[in-house]
């Protein structure tokens, strides 16, 4: 039904630049939570998700960190506050914390499922369609829903992944089947390793609705997804989801290359549908909301200046360890690719 809104490829470009602001006026509970002291509470803007017709908040809640939070009570509260602030995009993945991340999101969204745009990912890592379909059922059960809005192939980071995904009976066929069965609305893929692997995936001309990739101020000068993949995705009308705006674990900010605010604002100012950010506490959620509420993108000059400032730190990939090391490659994928586990090969 979203298609009725008729977002064309060109429409996407224009609309994402203009940024659609979601109306929060009628949303109850904000005052009770103390967010409207100024009386001019601005929400988190929503943007079109490529040509799908769906609208998603320009800030997304990362699913991995939901499972890192110690108390489930806090992750539930985080999801509730995010929804109240106008965030509807929730990221997750079959393999995060062995299912805990999906379970927590499912529990937190109970009764609010229709307010959220739920994404999760499938972790075949080269295995076939059957494995994928089984994982989908598990994800749906944990998320307590009969469908996910977006289902993506997780962690396309090994150089031979694209050929395995598109082999007969591979994971690509699962995406189509799941869509046909109405269990997923849209499909995509994600990875953090190398623009060339993403381009190999896109070159298959598969009808991906989305593609997720690391986008931050340092990426622009090192094995750059921004330069190499973002334009290609745009050309193909595939919605872009950004991630790792601060390096995955805050490396970029912790080391002083950018402030957390600059880092997030830079990523969100790119022509993306949403920027997924891991938030492992309510404090981080608030920090992110300070950027996202009534989001004001950087101008082109500000962006260029920031890229220039961090260029020397970007040149060897020291703060983009997901590109240069195995630190961010999960154990499920390592096992399928016969890599040592994290304990034996931490980076």
């Amino acid at each position: 039904m979203e298609n009725k809104k008729g977002f064309t490829r060109r429409g996407f470009v224009k609309a994402s630049a203009a940024v659609v602001t979601a109306s929060l006026v009628a949303r109850p509970g904000l005052a009770a939570r103390g967010y409207s002291q100024s009386g001019a509470m601005e929400g988190v803007p929503h943007r079109p998700l490529g040509k799908t017709g769906a609208l998603v908040s320009c800030l997304g809640v990362g699913g991995y960190h939901l499972g890192s939070i110690k108390e489930e009570k806090e992750s539930t509260e985080l999801v509730a506050r995010a929804l109240d602030a106008g965030i509807n995009f929730f990221d997750n993945c079959w393999e995060y914390h062995d299912g805990v991340s999906e379970e927590r999101l499912g529990a937190a969204l109970k009764g609010k499922r229709d307010k959220a745009f739920v994404m999760t990912k499938v972790c075949t890592h080269g295995r076939g369609k059957d494995v994928a379909m089984k994982q989908l059922e598990e994800s749906l059960r944990r998320l307590q829903t009969d469908h996910v809005d977006l289902w993506q192939i997780h962690e396309v980071v090994y150089w031979n992944d694209p050929e395995m995904i598109f082999a007969p009976n591979g994971a690509a066929e699962a995406l189509l089947a799941a869509k046909q069965q109405g269990k997923v609305r849209f499909v995509g893929f994600t990875g953090h390793k190398n623009p060339a692997i993403h381009l190999k995936m896109l070159a298959h001309d598969f009808p991906f609705d989305t593609v997720q990739m690391p986008l931050n101020a340092l990426d622009a000068t090192f094995r750059s997804f921004q330069k190499q993949v973002l334009p290609e995705a745009k050309k193909r009308g595939v919605a872009v989801l950004g991630m790792k705006s601060l390096g995955g674990s805050g490396e970029i900010a912790v080391n002083g290359a950018v402030t957390p605010e600059e880092g997030l604002r830079y990523a969100m100012s790119l022509p993306v549908a949403t920027t997924i950010s891991g938030m492992d506490s309510l404090v981080v959620l608030e920090q992110n909301l300070n950027v996202a509420r009534g989001f004001k993108p950087f101008g082109e000059q500000e962006m260029a200046a920031l890229r220039e400032r961090v260029r020397p730190l970007a040149a060897d990939g020291r703060y983009e360890l997901f590109k240069t090391t195995t630190k961010y490659d999960g154990n499920v994928g390592r096992e399928q690719h016969h890599y040592p586990p994290k304990e034996k090969l931490p980076a």
Binding site: W159, F222, D316, G317, T324, P340
Partner: protein
Amino acid sequence: MGLLREPFSAKSISQRVATEGRGASGQEPSSGIPLRKFGRHEVKVSALGFGGHHLGDAENVQVAMRLVQEAVDNGITFFDNCWEYHVGKSEDWMGRGLKGRRDRVFLMTKVCTHGREAMLGMQMLEQSLRRLQTDHLDLWQIHGVSFENDPDLFIRPNGAAEALRKAKEQGKVRFVGFTGHKDPAIHLKMLETDFPFDAVQMPLNAFDAHFHSFTEQVLSEVNRRGMAALGMKPMSGHGDPIEQGELSAEEALRYAMSLPVTTTITGIDKPEILQQNLKIAQGFTPMTAEEMHGLRERTRQAAGDGRYELYKVSLKFDNPEARIAHNFPLDEQSAEVKEMLKATENTGHPFPDVKPPQP
């Protein structure tokens, strides 16, 4: 056994050049390890090289010394080492093992500036010479060119390129080169600096043929430029594919030695490994093109994701000094890092004998 070249005691650079001109005797040594020409120079070195890193893994100094001595006595002339291997232990043990045999070998070590200044490189050189108990090196190489900006940092004013030039001028090193295991594109960037390297070291094995391939992208360019191509990691660094039954040690080493290289450096930490490698190298016959092709077909599938070339896809083979210089995280579980921390626990500085350059 015949000497490779006239022994020289490094009195002057002119003498050395004269020696080089006469070069190797041209005769095969009685041991039967083939000798090959060192790039554009007349010097010859053994087709099998003795890797210095693994020497530091030997049981103790006596075992290490015996390994070195037996290797020399059995026809290995090319000896590899590096300033940072086992925090100096590899150089120290090799120096002891080579006592009385120095003139029979072609001794290489590497400098670990990892992007830092020439002066630091010169300090490391003095330390290497002292540990190796020699007044000169036959080959001095930039170690671990692994990061994308290393070539820029190497060639910049006051970068390590200046140390290579200076050391050659001072007669402390005869030849210079660089090494790295990460990405063919980085090697090509180093070559594009047009610095007059004599040698280039790179990982070469049957897996490399299919994955970010040095064989495909770098080897012919190095040969075209008349530089000596030095192969390493014939068994993927730690022999993982051999342990997994993908191929035998003999197949792996023979394949690497059959490529157009000057030498193939392989790690030797035990007498049985030395014997195994000597057996392959003595009376070495190269694989035929068909044999090589057949082996590549066998390794193709497993090569596709880098599982047997972790030096290309992870930090595992990047030594602590490289990581420190580039501000990459240290792996505190690794033996290298533990050794480093132990060696420096009283000083608070990673490498006590080398002063970091003042900004």
